[in-house]
C-alpha cells in the first residue's frame, strides 16, 4: 500500500498498519511526536488500535527551535 508521510509517498507491504508499527518502521519510537491522518489528529491512546490504510495522508510533527 502507498501512504503519504509529510508530503512524501512511501510504500509498505500489506494493506494496513498501526501508527505504532509505522513509528517503529520510521525509527521514531520513543521520540516525542504528534500524528495527523487525513487532517484528523490521532490520539496517542489510539496508536496501537487504529489502522493506517492505503492512500492515507499523514503528518508527523515535533517541536523544533523557533521564536
Amino acid at each position: 500500500m502507498k501512504i503519504v508521510i509529510n508530503g512524501r509517498e512511501k510504500e509498505f507491504e500489506g494493506g494496513k498498519i498501526t501508527p505504532n508499527d509505522l513509528a517503529q518502521h520510521l525509527k521514531i519510537t520513543g521520540k516525542r511526536f504528534a500524528m495527523e491522518c487525513n487532517g484528523q489528529i490521532i490520539s496517542r491512546s489510539d496508536f496501537s488500535i487504529m489502522y493506517i490504510k492505503d492512500g492515507d495522508q499523514l503528518e508527523i510533527v515535533g517541536a523544533v527551535g523557533g521564536g
Binding site: 508521510i5 509529510n6 508530503g7 512524501r8 520510521l26 525509527k27 521514531i28 521520540k31 516525542r32 511526536f33 504528534a34 495527523e36 487532517g39 489528529i41 490520539s43 496517542r44 503528518e59 508527523i60 510533527v61 515535533g62 517541536a63 523544533v64 527551535g65 523557533g66 521564536g67
Partner: protein
C-alpha cells in the same frame, strides 16, 4: 515599592505565576548546547518552540530540542510561526497540544506578508476565537494597534503581544506611544514581541509598563549569545524596577541642581 513588594512582583499568565518577565525563543542558535546555555543565562522560564514536520528516515540518534530543554523544566510556548491563515494556525496548535500532552498555553501568530512578517489581524482574531473556545490559553502576537489589541483581549486572549518593530529586525521600539495606549487599556499582561535589538530596547519596553518581553533573534544572533542573554535579563529587571519606582517628572529646559545652592564658597 519596598523589597517585600518586589518579591511578590510575580507575572501571572492564565493563572500561572512566573518569576521571569523575559520570554525567549529557541531558534537561530548554533546548536542545542548554545540554546540551553543562553536560555539558562537569560533566566527565562517560558520558551517558544515551533511545530514542524519530523525528519523521517534520518539518524534516529540525532539529538532533539526536547532533550536539551526538558519540558518539565521549562514552560513550552508552541507558536504558529509560518502560518498565513487561521486554519493553518489552529491545525498547528491542535497538533502542539497533542504533542505536549494537553498543554494549552500557546502563542498565536498569523502572518500576512512574507517580507515584513506583519500579522494578519483579521485571521488572528478569527483563529483566537476558535482556539479560546477549544480551551487554549492564547498569547497573541499582533500589530501595535490599540483597537485590535483590545478586541483580542475582549474575546479572551490571556496576553496581548504587540510588535515593537518587525520580527527579527532588531529595529527597537518604533512606537512607544501606541504601546503605552495598549498597556493602559489592558487588564491582561502585555508583552513586546518582536523587534528588540539590544538590552536598552528591552529596558525601554519595561519602563513603558510592559509586563514582559519576548525575544529570540537579539539573543541568538548576538556575537556572544550567552552574554547577551545575561544582558537582557538585567535589562528586563532594571526596566521593571524603574517602572515600579515611578520615574521623576521631566523638567523640559529647566535645570535643577542636585547640590545645595546655599553655602557656596566665596
Amino acid at each position: 515599592m519596598d523589597k517585600f513588594e518586589l518579591k511578590c512582583d510575580e507575572l501571572i499568565i492564565a493563572g500561572q505565576p512566573f518569576k521571569s518577565r523575559l520570554l525567549v525563543g529557541t531558534g537561530k542558535y548554533r546548536d542545542f548546547k548554545e540554546t540551553r546555555a543562553a536560555i539558562d543565562a537569560s533566566g527565562a522560564e517560558i520558551v517558544t518552540v515551533a511545530i514542524r514536520r519530523t525528519n523521517i528516515g534520518q539518524d534516529a540518534k540525532e539529538p532533539s530540542l526536547l532533550e536539551f530543554l526538558p519540558p518539565n523544566q521549562y514552560t513550552y510556548l508552541p507558536n504558529t510561526a509560518g502560518c498565513y491563515s487561521a486554519d493553518d494556525a489552529i491545525r498547528t496548535l491542535r497538533l502542539a497540544r497533542e504533542l505536549l500532552n494537553g498543554h494549552t498555553l500557546v502563542k498565536l501568530e498569523v502572518l500576512g506578508d512574507p517580507d515584513t512578517l506583519f500579522p494578519n489581524v483579521v485571521e488572528t482574531l478569527s483563529a483566537a476565537k476558535i482556539l479560546i473556545k477549544e480551551g487554549f490559553d492564547v498569547m497573541v502576537y499582533t500589530s501595535d494597534d490599540p483597537i485590535i489589541a483590545k478586541q483580542l483581549e475582549d474575546i479572551g486572549c490571556c496576553a496581548i503581544m504587540p510588535l515593537a518593530s518587525l520580527i527579527g529586525s532588531g529595529m527597537g521600539i518604533l512606537n512607544p506611544y501606541n504601546l503605552e495606549i495598549i498597556i493602559e487599556n489592558a487588564s491582561v499582561p502585555v508583552f513586546v514581541d518582536a523587534g528588540v535589538g539590544t538590552a536598552s530596547d528591552a529596558a525601554i519596553a519595561m519602563e513603558l509598563g510592559c509586563d514582559g518581553v519576548l525575544m529570540n533573534t537579539a539573543i541568538a544572533t548576538a556575537k556572544n549569545p550567552i552574554m547577551m542573554a545575561g544582558a537582557m535579563k538585567k535589562a528586563i529587571e532594571a526596566g521593571r524596577q524603574a517602572f515600579l519606582s515611578g520615574r521623576m517628572d521631566k523638567n523640559l529646559y529647566n535645570a535643577a541642581p542636585s547640590s545645595p545652592t546655599k553655602g557656596l564658597i566665596g
